[in-house]
Symmetry: C2
Subunit: 109 residues, 2 copies
């Protein structure tokens, strides 16, 4: 396969992979509303702080979020809000599947 294309696909996959976790999706949704520090996110998520911190690192490494230290806390912000467009599409897939499932439940003619 074309090496250039392969590299491009891998770069994309890396970003998508960073979104491929329910906790990280939650983080993105919340940061879309407003910035938050790690402790706030940790409370919402209900996992160990270290776990949340690592999720944030994943998102940061691919450039989805950025962070800023203020005093004692680190505030995270959504860096590329267009990432929210993801969700509309994902919903479409879910809806299409749901509709199909519904059809299967209809009585045969």
């Amino acid at each position: 396969m074309d090496e250039r294309r392969q590299a491009r696909l891998e770069a994309r996959a890396k970003i998508i992979k960073a979104m491929a976790h329910s906790t990280r999706l939650l983080i993105v949704e919340e940061l879309a509303k407003s910035e938050h520090c790690v402790c706030e996110l940790t409370e919402m998520i209900g996992a160990d702080v270290s776990t949340v911190s690592k999720h944030l690192t994943v998102l940061k490494n691919v450039g989805i979020v950025c962070s800023e230290k203020r005093g004692n806390q680190v505030y995270y912000q959504l860096r590329t809000p267009c990432i929210l467009n993801f969700f509309g599409c994902v919903e479409s897939v879910l809806e299409a599947t749901a509709k199909e499932q519904a059809l299967l439940c209809l009585p045969e003619r």
Copy 2:
């Protein structure tokens, strides 16, 4: 955390996870142009047929593609083309990161 929300996030993550692999992104890109049978995709990808088949199963399980057996072959099609919107956004993230990298290379003032 709200259980309903958790379930919704997990459903989304499942779909996004299915996209989170360069080979599967290639498949989606190709299917966006036209349907293909497994053997055609296998040739483009250059991996074992069984590997490609499993990637297709992943995409099918979450409803991104659907398949139709015609004679000896199974043709796969993109079921929800809006999935392509993903890419625009992913590109934005990549571009933003690239720009930032470029800035780092500028001489200091």
